[in-house]
């Protein structure tokens, strides 16, 4: 038996940088450093753990859709221990929205071959959290999402989903799409050996024609949504700051009362 895992990852602008929009109202990627979305590290980690706990041959492919620099995100995942990588890159992808991204990912996942897809719970830039569900819908396989615990055994994936109202135990047959939360387990740091090994691992590059997709199906032109404006919020006006000299709590209460919160 063998198990083919595809981990979808995203290369995102660093949240500690000065993120802003370009003139076409897409995210400006030129002025901010990018990195592997932190939440996707948990997905890579769970793929590695499933592999380590399995008696089967497990092959882990990391997949991203993004510009040239997105290879950095793939390298990070490879240095953590993934086996190979696929980079979908095409100028016509610029401005692709979530529905379009799920189309490209689904085509690439099918082309790569899979038994299990693992995603993070959301990207740290768009933060929509819809791509795993969209992938399950497109691939026609069960979605087993937002798991804080995940295991795979005998062709079945099981996990725990912690919702607001209840904690649920889920179960589905493979193939399936899984997403994991930041509670699933701390992601490992790449070792020096892992970083060196990653340089020799294969990274395939596919463009739209490799996936039988037309330019008009993706990108800004093919987007299902349109951003009409993006306005930078004015900086908050400086608030009142007091030093506690014994009455800080009472002063704060006075402020809250003035604002009608008490």
């Amino acid at each position: 038996m063998s198990l083919r895992i595809v981990v979808t990852v995203k290369y995102v602008p660093d949240a500690t940088g000065d993120r802003h929009f370009a003139d076409d109202l897409t995210v400006d990627r030129d002025d901010v450093d990018g990195l592997l979305s932190e939440l996707d590290e948990y997905a890579v980690e769970q793929a590695l753990q499933i592999s380590e706990n399995s008696d089967d041959d497990v092959e882990i492919t990391v997949l991203t859709v993004g510009p040239e620099d997105a290879k950095d995100a793939l390298r990070k995942a490879l240095s953590m221990g993934a086996d190979k990588a696929v980079h979908v890159e095409d100028d016509d992808l610029h401005g692709t929205d979530a529905i379009g991204t799920s189309l490209v990912l689904a085509k690439a996942i099918e082309k790569a071959g899979y038994d299990l897809v693992i995603s993070g719970l959301a990207s740290t830039d768009g933060t929509m959290g819809v791509v795993p569900a969209l992938l399950a819908e497109r691939l026609g396989v069960p979605q087993v999402t937002l798991l804080s615990e995940v295991s795979v055994e005998d062709g079945t994936v099981k996990g725990r989903r912690d919702g607001d109202a209840a904690s649920e135990q889920l179960e589905a047959s493979l193939p399936a799409v899984v997403s994991v939360t930041d509670q699933s387990g701390e992601a490992r740091y790449p070792s020096f050996k892992g970083i060196m090994a990653a340089k020799k691992k294969p990274v395939q590059s596919w463009d739209l024609s490799d996936l039988d997709l037309e330019a008009g199906e993706v990108g800004l032109e093919g987007a299902w949504t349109a951003v009409e404006s993006a306005t930078q919020r004015p900086a908050r006006t400086a608030g009142t700051i007091v030093k506690d000299e014994g009455e800080g709590g009472k002063q704060l209460a006075e402020f809250l009362a003035g604002q009608k919160f008490i």
């Binding site: 949240a15 979530a98 069960p142 087993v144 649920e168 179960e171 949504t225 608030g239 402020f255």
Partner: protein
């Protein structure tokens, strides 16, 4: 007037507040038609009618409780086919976003998530979103198909607007995918008696400065004096001082209350991403240089172990 579908989030017939907010927003773009599914669906009708639902489409089947997400997508798709709405609005919970996404794909529509405001536009509803840790505000619309939009809690004030709210049975045929993911067990979360974090009008949070699980009692006491929900920073959650379900921030919950009180929280970008749209922000922190003070309407530089109990006492006194 065009009809607008509103997906109802309810627990055994008790409608949750974000759905009532959605009904208010839905009335700006059409006549709200509510879709309530699962056990207790019909008992939602009175509350929904009181807040503007002209019709309430209901359906109950064991599939909604036994399988994840897809049965609800099937039902909503059936409702879209029956109503031909001008838009579909869904509360922005984790599950709500998943339902909305799959629905959008099926009906060939775009999706906008986490809207914080909604207005009618010439080419369909225009949604406001708050992005990049609330440093930008965008306005977007769905350009293909029937707009599917999820809306964050606290995006609109709940307004009563009595309407007919006629209950109608929705005919649903489940898809082959509906039974793909089985829910084999469910442990209800124990109620703390406090408001739900994402829906609360006031949130009181504790961070690294709280310095131990045992000290979170101080934060809870302040929260209780204000009828508030309790939040925690990632540092506090990772240290095991408070449950992950209460985590506010990029990898936790995003909150947008009327008042946010941060105690012993430095205000790292990841935390700010989850609370920066709060209307009034207050912080208590020993470190005068903490970035949280850049955000506050009122800040106290001081030891939370002195300030918070004094604040709690003062609130209790003032409230009598």
């Amino acid at each position: 007037m065009a009809e607008v579908l509103v997906y109802v989030d309810h627990v055994d017939g008790a409608v949750r507040k974000p759905t009532l907010e959605l009904l208010t927003l839905a009335r700006r773009i059409g006549e709200p038609v509510a879709v309530a599914l699962g056990a207790g669906a019909e008992s939602t009708a009175a509350a929904l009618a009181e807040h503007g639902a002209t019709r309430v489409l209901t359906h109950d089947a064991s599939e909604y409780a036994d399988y994840l997400v897809v049965p609800k997508v099937d039902a909503l798709q059936a409702a879209v086919a029956a109503v031909s709405p001008a838009a579909v609005l869904v509360p922005s919970s984790a599950e709500g976003k998943e339902i909305a996404a799959r629905l959008a794909l099926r009906i060939g529509s775009g999706i906008i998530t986490d809207a914080v405001d909604l207005e009618a536009g010439d080419e369909g509803p225009v949604a406001t979103q708050s992005v990049f840790a609330a440093s930008f505000s965008t306005k977007s619309r769905v350009s293909k198909g029937t707009p599917v939009i999820t809306v964050k809690p606290n995006s609109a004030a709940v307004e009563a607007a009595p309407a007919a709210g006629a209950v109608e049975a929705l005919a649903v045929t489940f898809s082959a995918q509906a039974t793909g993911t089985k829910i084999t067990g469910r442990t209800p979360r124990e109620s703390t008696g406090r408001p739900e974090l994402t829906e609360a009008a006031i949130v009181v949070s504790g961070g690294r400065g709280v310095n131990g699980a045992e000290n979170f009692g101080l934060i809870e006491a302040l929260a209780d004096s204000l009828g508030a929900a309790v939040g925690a920073s990632r540092a506090a959650v990772d240290a095991g001082w408070y449950p992950h379900t209460n985590q506010v921030g990029q990898t936790g919950k995003s909150v947008s209350p009327q008042l946010y009180i941060a105690n012993g929280i430095s205000g790292a970008i990841q935390h700010r991403a989850g609370m920066q749209t709060s209307k009034t922000i207050v912080a208590v922190n020993k470190d005068a240089e903490a970035p949280i003070f850049d955000l506050v309407d009122y800040g106290v530089v001081g030891d939370l172990f002195d300030v918070v109990p004094q604040l709690t006492e003062e609130i209790k006194t003032r409230k009598g």
